[in-house]
Amino acid sequence: MNIPKELKYSNDHEWVKFEGDTAIIGISDFAQDSLGDIVFINLPAEGDQVTAGEVFGDIESVKTVSDMSSPVSGTITAVNEELTDAPEKLNADPYGAWIIKVENVTEQSDLMDADAYEAFCKEA
């Protein structure tokens, strides 16, 4: 299980990377592994508002569908449209395949550091 130290994690298995004012969001290695082959993603649009803890899209594997919840509140400034045609990138490179970038972050969910998240995954 790959859990990069420099990232923060939500209890919905999203990762967040804070770069200045921007929060970059994706799904964790644990999430992609539990889902299995990811075959579809429903992305939000640039300019959409997201709210911490609320659903901003969904992601589907062959076996199941899963909501993606935003770990922060703010405005979506970029969407990784590449994933629409190649959702399998989320399996191949979960920390490279970011999903959305959010700016004007006003609030965030309780996020875990890598060690806490690793312990959290072990319990799951």
């Binding site: 299995g36 082959d37 579809f40 429903n42 589907e60 062959v62 076996k63 569908v65 399996n91």
Partner: protein, 408 residues
Amino acid sequence: MSELKRTVLYNEHLAAGATMVDFGGWDMPIQYPAGIVAEHLFTRSACGLFDVSHMGRLLVEGPQRVAFLQYALTSNVEALTLNRAQYCMIPNERGGAVDDAYLYMFEEDRFLLVVNASNKDKDLKHLLPIAEKFDVTIRDISDEYAAIAVQGPLSRKLLEELNGGKELTEPKKNACGTVMLEGHEARLSTTGYTGEPIGYEVYMKNADAVWLWKRLGEMGAKPAGLGARDTLRLESCMPLYGHELGTDHDGKEIPIFAVPLAKFAVSFLDSKGDFVGKAPLQKQFETYTRIQAGDFSDISLIPRRVMPICLVDRGVIRGGMTVYKDGKEVGWITSGTMIPYYDFEEEFSTEKVARRSIGLAYLDTPVQRGDFVEVDVRGKRLRAVIPASHMNGRTPPYARPIVWKEEK
């Protein structure tokens, strides 16, 4: 909670890193590290190995075995000759399915009936009282034999190599044979649940099956789990008991003739005589024949049919989702997901992989091939179409996907 049952290949699955799940009381591999998509595609392009040892295997013996099976199954058992197999239903008195099954004649004096794992106990409870009226015995040999499905364009070549280069069976569907694979006795048939034009199901003694699994792995075949088994059967529109056969999600019985494969499984020949559910099935068949001719005046016996369905809009259809036509509810998806395929024109090629959301649906009978419908996908109505089928499996060595394309 009772302990999950294990097939003889259990340790092989663990060694290969499989994700194991409870499947009808069996601890079975849902997928291996390669994943469902890769396992599905590898079966279409090369050769997938499936552990199907969990399936129920019943040996039917005795002087009245033909008469018994003619009465207890829907097919014409008399037409089954040595080294042939046939698809059949185990009908109930109402013309519904207790189970679907495959009947094999590997030996002159006995039949092998292979039933769904999760239905075996129910099937036995249904069949044994019928068998009491005949001079037959039904023996459950599931624990003595293992079964491996070897499916895909390379399957024949690999198995023939193990057979000293010799032909395994007659080169047609539903053929069977008993051969020695490098000194190990194997009974095999050109059957399967993947829709592959070339594929085998191999029955062997437990110890021999472990050998075959490893040997075929060394030769380049790759294991595929229940996940890929489901996407492969769905792409070839084969019914799965509990989804397209048995009872629907309202608890109502699905008439056998509501399922497209039924016409191959049911025989009303005079020589077959009476059988369980014959009268209601005959009525269903009359209705079915009228429907096929475009007459929908009386569809009371087959109010709904199992049809292929293909999502036109972006999204994924899944079992249980409601289907609408012209704003009116017309049924629901029985099985559905996103399924990968090789996108090629004339010549088979693995260069381009695409995917589509397809499935099977149980729809009001007036809904016809070519119709557009809508599926409620998590609160959104998405457009879908009823195609003739999803795949052509009669094009050896490679199955050809039939991809629905909107006319421009």
